[in-house]
Structure formats: C-alpha cells, structure tokens
Symmetry: C2
C-alpha cells in the first residue's frame, strides 16, 4: 500500500425526508443562493421542499446550470453572488450543478479570471464560499469530494480542478429524489459510478486488500442493482444502494494508497467537449477498449476482477481476461449504453482530432504508469470506433 492522506469532512444526511434537516447545517444569518439546472426540480417537488426547509433565510436562485457546466454560464452566477452579497451556496441537482457550484464558490473571492485556477487544477485558490448540496442524480460523487470538472465552451475543453475548500459542508442524499429521473440518466449514473471505481481499482496490485474489497463490493452492487433500477424505478432499497455507491466510489476512500488510472476519463472528456456525448456514454465506449489494449499491464488486476466480480474461473488466463472484458462491455449494454463510437455517428476522421485535443491539453502520459501515450490512445480509439 502507498502512503496516503485521507480527509473528507462532508456531512452526509442520508435517507427519506432529509431535506427538512438542511436548516440545521446552514448559519441562520446566511444569504443563500440556490443553484440548479433545467428546472426539473420544480416539476418533481424537490424545489418546493428545499424552499420550505429554508423558511426564514434570505434566498436567491440561479437556474440553468447545464450538463457539463460551462465557464460561460457560471461566471454569470459569480456576478450575481458578488452583487447580492450571497454567502452560502446550495446546489440542488446532480454532478453538473454541484461541480458548477464548486466553481462559483472558489471563483467569487478569486482575484482575476477564474479560468486561471482551472488551468492550474485548483492551484491559486485561497478561499471559497461554503456550499451544501441536495443530490438528485447519483453518479458523479461530487457531493462528497473536492473535485469538479468545468467546460470552457469557447475553448472547447473540459478540465478538472480540485481544492479542499470546495468540499460540500453537507450533502443530502434522499434516494426517493432519484425516482423521477429518466432511465437514461439512471443508466448513465450507474456506468459513471462503475468506471469511477475501475479507474481506482483496475491498475496493478499493491496489497491494498480493503480498498480492493470495497471497490469490488461497489462493482457487485452496481451489477446487482443497476439493471433493477431501470425495471423498478421506485424501489427504495435499490435506489438507496446505488446512491450510496455513487458517493463512496469517489469520496477518496477506495483511491487511498493505491495507483489510479483516469485515462478513460481524460479521453472521455475530450470526446464530450468535441462531440457532445454524455459523459457516461464516452466511458462505456472507452473502458472495454482501454482494458483490451492495456491488458498486459493490468493483467493481475484483470484476473482478480474477473474472479471476484464476475466469478470467472476458466483455467486459461487469456480466456479469463477475454471473458472479463466481454462481461464488462455486456454490462454497459445491459444498462442500455452503446459501446462503439460509430454508434454515436462519429466518423473515423474524428479519431485524430480527439488525440490532438488531448495533446493540446498536455495529456500525453496518462494512466497509472504514465504510459498511455497518444499512440496508445490512437489504438484504443481505433478499437472502440
């Protein structure tokens, strides 16, 4: 196991009816900005529940944070916060709203163009407004971590930043709030969570028995409950397990003390920025190809994953690895995602453009061993095209 530091101060309020508890977590004198997305929270009653819980507070709102939240949109919220002297942010939504709100929190006190701290992956941030979240879409894990991914539309790029000051103070995880989500968003969330786990688990062994077993437990739960979530949209237990899975997949715990990959995510971000695929769609396409092309370097962990998660026990190792990757791909298909780029109407000509975008953003040595070069990415894209 590698040395590590683990610190996660976010308070989780999990379960039915927990939105009512948020007032205990926000200072009584706070001037609150509620941030949200396209307005579905007004149809499904979540907005009304939040407003009721905030009775007695001064409340503003900022709507319209889009999927893959953009710098262009978010700087408008920064202006509003400064104008109205808002001092607490409450993100009500999924990963995009929460990520965007983390950006707002750090950008408000920042001197200069906040895109600077994105380019430095969070470097240069020295203060941030406090924020809380009410999660409506389990997927990104942003509700219990200090990272965010922001898209610059004009520059056509999607980049991550991290800073300890943007951990949410609290996050409400009420599984019933995910009942009304469209099947596509549930499916995307399950696949996103699955790949978050894989980026931290499917590397090379370092004797981190507990991290491995927790990762395997998350994968098994996603495999068991992911398809059930599509069939039984109001099964509380299924939604509860998936919601807690998504949070634990990316709260730092399974990644502590182990090598991490993240190349699937980095390539995926470029595809989303260039061609607009959903984040999870890019992951479902890329991960099986990444595992196939890089199977030698990932051999030991592929065998462990095949055995413990998929129960694959054939004698021949190569057959086991082949079946393991196939089962992974089949799971994404069972979750109603496609696994080829051409299924999303990308032409073959798009492949070098994706590689060029990665190079432009300095991502030429990806993966747990920094050996995922542009040439390796080319092979991966070729395979999953």
């Amino acid at each position: 196991m590698f040395n590590f530091t683990f610190h996660n101060p976010t308070r989780i309020l999990f379960g039915k009816g927990r939105i009512a508890d948020i007032a205990k977590e926000i200072p009584p004198s706070a001037n609150v900005l509620i941030t949200y997305g396209g307005g579905s929270i007004k149809q499904n009653g979540i907005y009304a529940e939040v407003i009721k819980a905030l009775e007695g507070y001064q409340v503003h709102e900022f709507a319209g944070i889009e999927a893959n939240p953009t710098y262009e949109t978010l700087v408008k919220a920064v202006d509003l916060v400064r104008l109205e002297n808002i001092d607490f942010l409450l993100a009500v939504g999924g990963g995009s709203v929460i990520d965007g709100t983390k950006f707002i929190a750090a950008a408000v006190p920042y001197q200069g163009d906040p895109w600077e701290f994105i380019l430095k992956q969070g470097g240069g941030i020295s203060s941030a407004l406090p924020l809380g979240t009410v999660l409506t879409l389990p997927a990104s894990g942003s509700e219990m971590n200090n990272g965010a991914v922001i898209t610059h539309q004009a520059k056509q790029c999607k980049l991550p930043f991290m800073h300890p000051l943007v951990f949410p103070r609290f996050s409400v995880l009420d599984p019933t709030k995910s009942y009304s989500l469209p099947a596509r968003q549930i499916a995307n969330g399950v696949v996103d969570t699955f790949v978050h786990v894989m980026e931290q688990y499917l590397t090379y062994p370092v004797n981190a028995r507990i991290q491995d077993r927790l990762a395997e437990g998350l994968l098994l739960t996603l495999i068991e409950d992911g398809p059930r979530a599509l069939l039984e949209p109001d099964n509380y237990e299924v939604r509860a397990n998936l919601m807690w899975c998504a949070t634990l997949a990316l709260n730092g715990l399974i990644g502590s003390g182990v090598p991490q990959d993240w190349s699937t995510h980095m390539v995926g971000h470029e595809i989303t920025a260039l061609y607009g695929l959903d984040h999870a769609q890019t992951l479902a396409v890329l991960l099986p190809a990444m595992l196939q092309i890089r199977q030698q370097a990932k051999r030991d962990k592929l065998l462990q994953y095949g055995l413990r998660v998929w129960g694959i026990v054939d004698e021949d190792e190569d057959t086991r690895i082949h079946k393991t990757i196939q089962r992974t791909s089949d799971f994404f298909i069972a979750m109603q995602l496609k696994t080829r780029l051409r299924d999303y109407n990308l032409s073959r000509d798009s492949l070098p453009l994706i590689v060029a975008a990665l190079q432009k953003h300095g991502m030429t040595k990806l993966g747990e061993r920094r050996d995922v070069s542009p040439e390796v990415v080319e092979k991966v894209l070729e395979l999953c095209w």
Copy 2:
C-alpha cells in the same frame, strides 16, 4: 437501509515516516501536551520521533495512562492542562491513551465533575480541546471516531461516551510503529477489530449491500493477515492492512444505516471492570456464545456471513450456522486467545455478579432488537463459562 448521518472530519496521515508531518497539523503557537502510556514509546523510538517533529513547540507530557484508562488517572492530567494553559493534546499510543485523551479534552473546559458527562454518554459537553493522535496499536478505532471508554476504578465500572468535539483533528497511522508490539497486543487488536465489525454486521439484513460488503472485506482481511502478523512481525503490507482495517472497522462507515448490536462489548466491559481481563479476551469468549444463543434472531446474517466470509456451503442451514460459529471461535484460538471464561480462572460464582453489574448500569435491554435481557446474558455466560 435506515436513514443515517455520516460525518467524520479526522484527517488520516497513513504510511511510513508520517510522524514528521504532524507539525503541519498543529497551530504553530500551540502549547502541546503529549499523552502516553507505560513508556514503551521511549524504548522503540516513537517518542524521539514525535519530539523531533514538535521542534519549536512548547511541549509538556503526561505519562502513565493505563490500559482501560481510569478517571482517577485522567483527572490528574486535567489539572496539569489547566495549570499549564495547554491548548493542544497529542495522544501517542493505542486506544486506551487515545480514549483517555478524549476524556481530558472534554473534561478541561467542563464545569463540575467530568464523570457527569460519562454518565450522560457525552451529554453536557459543549467544548473540548483539539487533539491529534499518533497510533501505535491498531485495535480500538478510536483514532478516527468520536467515542471513548473510561473506567472508574472506585466505582468499578467501565462506560462509553461520545461527542463530535472529540474527533481527533488528525491521526498518524504508521504501520512500522506496530512492529515492536508484543504478540498478545497484536492478537488482541485483530480480535477487537473483528468483533467491532461483527457488532455492526451480524444483526439482521436491511439491504445495505455496500456496508455488508465492506464489513465482509474487513473480516476477510483480518482472517488472512491476522495470523500472518504473528508469524511475520515486520511484514509492512500485513501491518498496513491490519492498521487500516482497525480504523475503518469503527469510523462510522460500516455502521451507517444498519442495525447495531454491541451487547458483546457491553457485557465484556463488565468482565474487564470486575476481573481485569483484556478487552479482546472478553470479546473472544463472549461472541461465539452470543451467536449461538441468539442464532434464531441472527439467522439470515449468520448464513450470509458463513457463505461470504468462511465459504461454508453445506446444504443444511443449521449445519452451516453451527460450522460458521465454530470457525469464528477457531479463528480466535488461532489468534492465540482463549474462548472460555474458566480459562481465565473465573469461577462459576462470578456469572451472577457480571449480570448484576450490567443491571446496575441499566443495561437490561441490549442488542439490535433490545431483546438481550439479563436472562439472555445469563445463558450466554453459562455457555461460555
């Protein structure tokens, strides 16, 4: 899954050489009290390493916190802290030193006799000194939680208290610092951790798939690496896994959203208070008998535990349960602990005294269903005598 709140702000500094990093975690102007036990930290070099890391700080020390730390000892430290205007506590030791230091932290600003807040299980605490820890003995999990167990020698009782203000600000977990521990303490630590997991896992199912799988992962790791720790005292990977296991077993995570038992612990505390057995010795004696006597109420989880942890797949359920409890008991024996009270020279006459002590402390409805009455405890004690 039940509703739950999870919040754990302790920063973990894990790995070789991490004591050197504590100065980054303590305010530069702090007046620090180092608390420790019998002085083994002076033989094994840990004391010197801590002193070096604290160069430039004003430092006091308080030695002699005993196993099962006593009110009588700790109030002397409280006097010292008040006299010297100490404002940061650094516990260097195992669970007893850390628990004792949590008591000191809460007792210093407390008005009145601090035993009052023990009797109220932490109620009445409104401030506490900040504390950090350097863990030398993986077992109690106290390094990453807000609980402590304190013994009142004059009153012959051992009682727990909890409060959010006594979470350590940071804890150093350096597995190499456990190399020099006597085999008995390592064995005790493994059994203590095992039973911590069981108290939160072996109850009744509530569809908490991730909590269950993390619990099972901890148990499997203890079973794999516990005996190896006795055979290979300086195997870093083994010690690293056991240390992280002990912390995660009782940091709130596996207990979130599930029923909890703790009757084995409560009865064990009385046995320690009355007859001086090591905490883990009481657990190794009690747990198999608890599972045996309460097997009907715990049936579903016993079968799950037998299958997933011990790989027991016989067709007949009663046989599986029998084997599962036997394997648990055998594991404690493999860890060199005894599993009968008479092995510790307790006479049969002691059994009613243990039950009477429980009753005196109001513990007449224990367990996840509050159905562990004094009569049930009598049967358990009879079986494990």
